[in-house]
């Protein structure tokens, strides 16, 4: 029974594997953050238009990118869980949502801090910031729906459907917001000049990787708790060393 193997032992092996991987992801995230920020603050030159303020991008851009990708990955896992009834995928989707929401929040927060010196206002109705805000709403809706259904199976399936509908809607929303923005001649935060300094690019790339590693570490840690909670009736859980003592 191939399906049974997939259904029942996948969380078992995954639990152990995730436990071994988390420290590696965590430590490399910390190191890369340090390296990326060192380059970003000491090596990269001051931008002649934006001064020092542009240095916010080393956290703003990675968190925007990650929050958007995490939503798609979450919807992908949710769809897998819904279609093939694989439990681990549903648990992964559940574990991704809070991290995605937090990255969306960081992106909004840092976007506002960048907007203030650039545009003189904390919040500008720029297409990207507005889309990010709607993305945060979508995450919050997913989390709220999942949290308000007691039966975990129904919660997984219902919120999976919502995530899929949301991800189909994301391009439509993005397009409509952009359209709305051009009509109203809104301001867009753009990087001055066409070429970014090499050190800026390096720093941004390194912090992006660091953010990804951090996100993976936290998501794996969260999914381990969810596995423990959902599988608490099974034998293998009671035989885990951390449960035994």
């Amino acid at each position: 029974m191939a399906i049974n193997w997939f259904k029942y032992s996948a969380p078992t092996t995954f639990y152990g594997l995730a436990g071994k991987l988390i420290p590696w992801f965590g430590i490399s995230a910390a190191i890369l953050f340090a390296v990326g920020l060192y380059i970003g603050f000491y090596v990269a030159p001051t931008d002649y238009q934006q001064g020092e303020f542009y240095r916010i991008i080393f956290i703003h851009v990675p968190s925007s990118i990650i929050s958007m990708f995490l939503y798609l990955i979450m919807a992908g896992y949710a769809a897998l869980g819904l279609i093939f009834n694989t439990r681990l995928s549903s648990m992964m989707a559940t574990a991704i949502a809070p991290t995605g929401a937090l990255f969306a929040f960081i992106s909004l927060w840092t976007g506002a801090l960048w907007g203030k010196p650039m545009w003189g206002a904390w919040w500008v109705w720029d297409a990207r910031l507005t889309s990010e805000l709607i993305l945060l709403f979508l995450y919050l809706g997913y989390i709220a729906l999942h949290a308000s259904i007691d039966d975990p199976r129904r919660a997984d399936r219902a919120s999976a459907l919502l995530a899929i509908v949301g991800s189909v809607n994301v391009p439509i929303i993005y397009f409509s917001v952009k359209w709305w923005n051009t009509l109203h001649q809104g301001s867009t935060i753009k990087f001055s000049g066409t070429s970014m300094h090499v050190a800026m690019q390096q720093a941004m790339f390194i912090t992006l990787v660091a953010c990804w590693l951090y996100a993976i570490a936290v998501i794996l840690a969260r999914v381990r708790s969810i596995i423990l909670e959902r599988e608490r009736h099974t034998k293998w859980i009671t035989e885990l060393p951390e449960v035994k003592n």
């Binding site: 039966d151 975990p152 199976r153 009736h233």
Partner: protein, 215 residues
Amino acid sequence: MLEVSNLACSRGDHRLFSGLSFALHPGQIMQVQGENGSGKTSLLRTLCGFLMPDEGDILWNGSSVSELQEEYYAEMLYLGHLNAIKDELSGLENLRISAGMSGIELSEKDAIAALRRMGLKGRELLPTKVLSQGQRRRVALARLLVSDAKLWVLDEPLAALDVAAVALIEELIAEHLARQGMVIFTTHQPLQVAGMEMRTLTLTRAGSGSRGRPA
């Protein structure tokens, strides 16, 4: 013919039953027994496709119910705890609409005849909110009279009914079986169908691997 093989069902963390197999042939009637919480209603709801079984298959005339979908639904009728009637509508409107939803266009004359046979003469046009519990149940059960479904799945059909209505339902079931229909039901009240062998399926509660076996 309805065939169930190796069916397993659970609610939340709790396994209700597993390894359940039985077959129901035309003209047969089966009562599902078991204490509260043993999964009687869940079994019937699984047969309707509301619940996904953890394991096992439900076959209708040899094909899987989940593949047949609407084709299977056209040949079955389910009456649950809820009456599925609207307080604002009259018995007549309710019956015609619920028949319509099960795919039968019912004329007013036939609907009135059915309601009269259920003992609702003179109340056909009243909004059902003024009827008693038992009378509303009768409106819901009137669907049995106008349905051409082969398989009846009845969850506590006798609840709230008086002696006369129980006798009437017994008569309807006997007619249905005589037409080579099939009935699977649960009840807490005794139900006798004259001249029919009543098969029983007992769901026993146990921590794991509870088994139902047809007697």
